[in-house]
């Protein structure tokens, strides 16, 4: 899928992005990242970083050098050569794939839906299904195998080799000592890529991930550097504060990547979502404020002209619903307009990242086709118009009678996505950096939660109505049957 320059959404001005850039650089040079991994600390220090206690400080110069060095094009080959593609940071192309590390499979039962534990057979079935779905451009590991940890990597590689002809994102490697074996089973290292959550928010390198990152980059494999803070618990509740922290954590990843391998093939994967502070603090993946923040992160990535891995379509619903479909359509539309080129976790996902459903994969494939058609027809370049139109068409396709009430709810959600609630000023950014510093010093995520009280009352978390209507899934069930998926 290719979109036009006019369809790229600009929610931040160049001046605002420059302020975030400089703020993130200040975080890395003044607050630093906690690094207890001696090999990684040594590598960074040898390239000009500084150390005080267990924190490593990175200068703006090091950051900008790393950004300039990073590969701007990445090739993703596939067992079926026609499925291979090149991701170019200069191009407005968008590729979609499933994702997650879901624990459960949501499946239909008499009178509703139920869920059961996911396992090896589900990995086989989902890969086979995704191989057939036309909107799936690459396949990210959706569930893990139910085998002992020691056998996980090899088992997963065997299944990918057998069931997947598209570019393979294996996501995680449990034990780096099995990496050679995994590549041998796959048959060609050019088919595979990975995701590494390098930094635990706020600002602490995860040692296990550090080992994986080094091993993968030393093999010159593409890696999405992933960061998924939750505003209000592991990052500031403020959008500005969360973006600053996320950006600093990802820029640290880009510096490290280029220290390990100059010109590293790494993608920027920023997922700044929020915590549900109205209830238990659980993540809100697909609510308007999270869609907005993820869109802003992709725009920041575009500012540097880096390959961008987006995340869209991770519903907060526990089963396939009209509400979930609406959430997903808005999330995909803004994900596409954000300029993200490689959109992960885009199909099948429910209940944040806890569950997947075979039915949801097919629903999402149909809805993605609708969105692509809307982008192709669109002459306005107005994301808000396109998003609402796509949501109405998708809901109607699945038998929902879209009335004024539903339209109003969609409008309200879109308004929340597009409207800034906070200033992007020097002073405000300084306040946010001070809050991040406090949380880092206290090493407790309750700092962000307690500081969230004002934002909670100022409406940072969208509170609207649900879109409740039954979905007609007859076609979906038929398509699953004809795919040979049980």
């Amino acid at each position: 899928m290719i979109i036009s320059d006019e369809q790229l959404i600009e929610m931040l001005s160049p001046a605002e992005m420059e302020l975030i850039h400089r703020g993130a650089c200040r975080i890395l040079s003044q607050i630093g990242v906690r690094v207890t991994h001696e090999d990684i600390a040594g590598r960074l220090l040898s390239r000009g970083a500084e150390r005080k206690g267990d924190r490593i400080f990175i200068s703006q110069e090091m950051i900008e050098e790393a950004l300039a060095q990073t590969a701007k094009t990445i090739r993703f080959d596939a067992p079926e050569p026609a499925h291979g593609f090149t991701l170019d940071a200069d191009e407005n192309q968008v590729k979609f794939g499933p994702g997650g590390q879901a624990l459960f499979i949501v499946h239909p039962v008499a009178g509703g839906w139920d869920r059961r534990a996911a396992g090896t057979n589900d990995l086989k079935q989902i890969l086979a299904l995704c191989d057939q779905l036309p909107q799936v451009d690459f396949t990210t590991r959706p569930v893990e195998c139910d085998v002992p940890e020691d056998r996980m990597d090899v088992e997963k590689a065997k299944i990918f080799q057998q069931y997947c002809t598209k570019p393979m994102n294996l996501a995680n490697i449990v034990k780096v000592e099995y990496l050679d074996k995994v590549l041998e089973i796959i048959g060609n290292p050019a088919y595979v890529s990975f995701i590494v959550s390098l930094v635990s928010s706020p600002l602490a390198l995860d040692d296990f991930s550090g080992d994986k990152f080094v091993a993968l980059l030393e093999k010159d494999l593409p890696v999405s550097i992933s960061c998924c803070p939750q505003g209000g618990s592991t990052a500031p509740f403020s959008e500005v504060g969360e973006l600053l922290q996320l950006h600093a954590e990802l820029l640290f990843g880009f510096v490290l990547a280029n220290v390990i391998r100059p010109g590293a093939k790494v993608l920027y994967r920023g997922i700044p979502i929020t915590s549900n502070l109205y209830t238990d603090g659980s993540p809100r993946w697909c609510q308007p404020e999270s869609i907005r923040r993820v869109t802003l992160a992709a725009q920041l990535c575009r500012y540097y002209n880096l390959p961008c891995c987006g995340t869209a379509g991770v519903s907060d619903e526990t089963e396939p619903t009209a509400q979930g479909l609406a959430e997903k359509v808005l999330s995909w539309t803004y994900g596409i307009a954000s300029g993200a080129q490689y959109i992960n976790s885009a199909l099948g996902m429910l209940e944040q990242v806890l569950s997947v459903s075979y039915h949801q994969y097919v629903i999402d494939d149909i809805a993605l086709k609708i969105i692509k058609e809307k982008f192709a027809e669109d002459g306005t370049g107005e994301t808000s118009v396109l998003a609402k139109d796509a949501a109405i068409t998708a809901l109607s396709h699945f038998g929902v009678a879209v009335d004024r009430e539903i339209e109003d709810e969609l409008t309200a959600r879109i308004r929340h996505i597009e409207n800034a609630l906070e200033p992007y000023s020097e002073e405000y950014i300084e306040d946010q950096i001070a809050n991040i510093k406090k949380a880092v010093e206290k090493t407790s995520s309750t700092v962000f939660m307690v500081a969230a009280r004002r934002g909670l009352r100022e409406g940072y978390l969208y509170q609207g109505d649900r879109i409740d209507a039954p979905l007609d899934l007859l076609d979906v069930t038929e398509r699953l049957k004809s795919s040979g998926i049980s």
């Binding site: 995860d206 502070l277 109205y278 939660m449």
Partner: protein, 228 residues
């Protein structure tokens, strides 16, 4: 200011989650006014018995609990109040007579198990328990079973809380429980929590209690307290 007025101010500061003079409190208007910590210091300086201050902590948190149940307060509000009490306890505790300190609800050791670095849930639980009157020792994240066992021997807790967010790390909880049983420490109640855990999993590994969130943990602790 009379003793009653001072204790009333203290109670209000806690209910409003107003930690200290720099904190803005529940409604963002309280910065610059004495917070919980300053008021506790003042109360002690004016000779109010630590036991009375403790009583006021309990009454304040009871009010906060009711506001949360009624939907007027959200998680951050409750946490802010709990944090006020937790930090104020650090000031009051050294002044307590032995009799007063034994009035605490018990000792709770908490940790995220080995291989797991997630701490949101654990931190919320630790803060809330401290605010509710438990003596809490937080071992942090990625804690090996052997280190937990060592801490049990030193801290002698009544309860242990184990947290994990990953399917690959939750199995470590079983290892911790196995070590506890091997040491014959069956009297310690083990709580587990974290996204992938369940009541069934708790039963399977021999944990005493599975909690979906901090409220369930507090309710279960209260129930255990009533039984004992």
């Amino acid at each position: 200011m009379s003793k009653d007025e001072l204790l009333k101010l203290l109670e209000n500061a806690i209910v409003m989650g107003h930690l200290d003079v720099d904190d803005e409190g529940f409604d963002g208007t309280m910065e610059g006014t004495p917070g919980t910590l300053e008021l506790v210091e003042k109360a002690l300086n004016e000779g109010i018995e630590p036991g009375e201050i403790l009583k006021s902590f309990g009454e304040s948190m009871e009010k906060v609990g009711k506001l949360y149940e009624s939907g007027e307060y959200f998680l951050p509000d409750m946490l802010a109040s709990a944090e006020c009490v937790g930090e104020a306890m650090d000031i009051v505790e050294p002044k307590l007579e032995l009799d007063d300190s034994s009035a605490g609800k018990g000792k709770f050791l908490i940790a995220t198990v080995k291989g797991d670095v997630h701490d949101i849930g654990k931190n919320i639980v630790a803060t809330m328990l401290k605010g509710a009157g438990y003596q809490v020792k937080d071992l942090g994240i990625n804690v090996p079973a052997e280190d937990i066992l060592q801490a049990i021997k030193e801290f002698e807790p009544d309860f242990i809380g184990l947290s994990a967010l990953l399917t690959t790390t939750m199995i470590e909880m079983e290892q911790v429980i196995k070590l506890i049983k091997e040491e014959g420490l069956d009297n310690i109640k083990v709580f587990i929590g974290g996204t992938p855990t369940s009541k069934e999993f708790a039963e399977k590994i021999g944990a005493d209690q599975h909690c979906r969130d901090v409220i369930e943990a507090l309710q279960a602790l209260e129930k255990m307290g009533e039984v004992s």
